[in-house]
Amino acid sequence: MFAIKRLNAWLGLAFISVVSGSAFAGQPMNMTPGVTDISAEVYDMHMIAFWLCVVIAVVVFGAMFYSIFAHRKSRGVTPATFHESTTIEAIWTIIPFVVLIALSIPATKTLIDMYDTSDYDLTVKITGYQWLWHYEYVEDGVDFHSKLQTSISQINNDEEKGENYLLEVDNELVIPVGKKVRFLITSNDVIHAWWVPDLAVKKDAVPGFINEAWARVNEPGIYRGQCAELCGRHHGFMPVVVRAVPEAEYRQWVAANAKPESATEYAVVSQ
């Protein structure tokens, strides 16, 4: 009996170290603030919601643990008998309500921004396939497939895994920095979801329908993401890689990759 008690005390200690220890593994453990204004807003909102939860947790669990400590039978306390209080119950219904309304205001604002695709600079149509992506630059006449480049032998553990294991593609999606890029997202077969955390863009690709999203990237760089909707056997193997480059470099890239026949078809007809 005594041994079990000792064991249980040790287990209690172990529990505390697990919770605190897991925070020190050194790998990324939070959402990225990303590289667009919207992604920064999303990140801020995430952190506000997180700290709000922490504060509520400290208060609520604090009260609970205080009670566990102070109101225990082994301390010889006699139990109180109260079992309701309309005032208190009203207070803890109303306060959370108000807090939630406060939280939903910035969320609403960001959401409205996310839905505003007007005044875009260029359109990229994204089509999901089992299991790769197809990108089509609607105005610039470039289009190509983009699929996983990690070798099978890396996946099968026959070769050492590279730095960007599973997050590398043969053809990256190149977009200009500082421009509002509008994404039209659809699918050829089942539902996929196009997701790049640094752009805070995640939209389902639904066969037969087009969805819309946009991003204005602030910094040049390579941003990696993945398909985020189960789409079958190789769902885990259809990454997204976005390379954001200065506008001039983007133009060069377009010039080098445009297919003349599709570019000439792009003609604006005003009436």
């Binding site: 695709t117 005044d119 359109t123 659809t186 077969d189 037969g208 087009i210 078809e265 003609a267 009436q271």
Partner: protein, 191 residues
Amino acid sequence: MSDKTSKTTRGATKLALAAVFMFSFGYLLVPLYDVFCDLTGLRFTDEEAVALSPQELEEDTSRLVTIQFDVSMNQGMSWHVKPEMQVMEVHPGRVYTTFYSASNRTVGEMVGQAVPSVAPIAANKYLVKTECFCFDNQTIAAGETVNMPLSFMLNPRLPPNVNLVTLSYTFFDITKNASAENQLDSVLAYK
């Protein structure tokens, strides 16, 4: 005792009927979803020729909206389809006509169905198609190319912040189902 029993039986029967009702309610969600889509403009339904008041039919020459035409092929669909124009700039309130050309480069006759979709969602219910190849399925003989007409207008009440509308069609190969579908048409009130 027996009074209680019959009360129990009656109660249980009612609950079972409620379950049966909820099963039908699952099916009722299908037309309800259409209503919901119409109200919110989430998706197209076929009845695009909504009655427009005369003043809605008045051309708004002060406003130009860009319309982008797009096309996708669904899995297994081998047609080559192109919009005549990729973009048009249009005045709300006026009917425009354009076409998509489709060629069937396979060796057999094929039946296709185009499914329209509009972005942004907010523009959906303001893009009115008066004639569209998507109203019916299309049959194209082997090696043929056909021009499929499309007439549309934008309702002048299109929200003012929308200056670009994308109209996208996805083509599905329904050759296999086409014959069976004729018989099923009556069953498929939902189509």
